[in-house]
Amino acid sequence: MEVPKKQNRALVFAGRAFQAAIFVAINYVIFFIAPSLFFSSTGLLTAEIEAAISSYFLIIASLTVLHLLLKDHIIGLASSVGLGIVESIYIYVITDGGVLTISYGGFALTLEFKPLLYLMMAIPLVNTVKQIIDYVGRSAAQPVGMVEVEG
C-alpha cells in the first residue's frame, strides 16, 4: 500500500509544480515584462527601477512556487499571505504611489491615478484574506485524532 501512496504524492507534486510554472510565467508577464516595457518606452527606466523590478519579481516568483507546492502546509499559507502583501507593495512602489512623471525636453507630463492604484492593490490583499479564511476553515474541518489512554 506504501508504493501507490508515494506515487500519488509524486503525482500531486508534479501537478502543483506544473501549476507553479504556469503562474510564474503569468507573473513574469505581469510583474516583469509589462513594467519593464512601460518604463523603457516612456524613458523612465533607471538602474534603481530595473533593480526593484527584478528583486520584487524574484520574491513574487519564489512565494508563488512555495505557496503552490506547499498548499496544505502552514508555510504555503505564510507564502500566500506574503505574496499578497508583496504584490501590493510592489504595485505601490513601482507606480511611485500612483504619481508618475514623464519628462521630455522642456515638457513634463505628470499622471496621477491613486483611485486606480488602490483598486489594483486591493485585489491581492482581498485574495490574501480569502486564503487565510480558507486555511482556517480547512483546519477547523480536520478530523480530530482520538488516542486511548490506558489507565
Binding site: 522642456g106 515638457f107 513634463a108 507630463l109 505628470t110 499622471l111 496621477e112 491615478f113 483611485p115 486606480l116 483598486l119 489594483m120 486591493a122 485585489i123 482581498v126 485574495n127 484574506v129 480569502k130 479564511i133 480558507d134 482556517v136 476553515g137 480547512r138 474541518a141
Partner: protein
Amino acid sequence: MAEVEPPFASKGFRLLSIGLSITLLLTLITIAYSAYEDLAYVFEGFAVGEGMPQLSVNGTHLTISNLKLANRGIYPLSIALRGEVMLGNVDLGSASTGEIIILPKMQKQIDLTLPINLTRAYTNYTLLKMILFNKTVATFKIKVDFGLQPFVAASFEGGFNSRVGAALDSLTFRLRSVEPLNETHVKADVEMEFTNRSPLAVNGLLHASLPSARQRNLRYVAAPIDILAQPSQHYIGQLTFTLPKEELKSGAWYALELRFETLGYAYEWRSTFRV
C-alpha cells in the same frame, strides 16, 4: 474522503476579488476609450486648424483665446490652464482659469488672460536697460491640468521662449537744424528716432540736457518730450536747445545726458551726436 465545503466568508471574498478585477478591467478600458476619444478630438481639431488657441500680446495683457475643447469620452473631463510670463528672471504675471469641468458630450471654449505687470521689470535697473536697448528673451510657461474624473489626473507643463526686441531699437540723435534766435543765441533742433521692436508700448518722459563744451558744470536743458510709441512703430521726436552761438562747432561731437522716466522709474544714459 469527502470534499470540505469552503466557508461562506471565503466565497464572499472570492466574489469580491472577482468583482474588483472586473471593475478594474472595465475602468481601464473605459478610461483608455475616453482618453483616446478626447485626444483624437484635440488632434483632429489641430490638424484642420479648428480649436487652435490664439496667442496675442497687447502691451498690458497676454491672451490665449479661442481654445475649444469637447468631451467625447465617458467621464467628466476637468481642465485648468495656468500661464506665467517671465522676462529675464523677472516674473511679470501669471493667471489661471481655475478648474473647468466639461461633461460628456459637451463643448467649452477656454480663454486665459495674463496681466503683464511691467513694474516688476522696471524696478530692476539692469532689466530696464535690456528692455530699452537690447533684445531680451520672454519665457511663457503653461501648465495644463486635466483629468478624467474621478480616476485619472494628468498635468502637462511646458514653456517656450520668445525673443523680444528692444523698445528703443536703433536710437539715434542727429542735429537737424540750427536757427539764430538773436545776436547771441541759436535754436538747435536735435532729432531723435527709434523703432519700438518690443510687443509693449513705450510710454514715458524723456529729459535731455547738453553739457557745455566750454564751461564746466553748465548744462543746457531741452524741454522734456512725452514719448508714446506703439509696438513696431517708428518714432521720430525732436529736442530743442537754446544755446550760445559759440557753443556749437562744426565737426565736433557732443554728448547728451538723457533720462527716461516711465511708470515712476527712470533710466539714465548718455548718447552723442555730431554737428
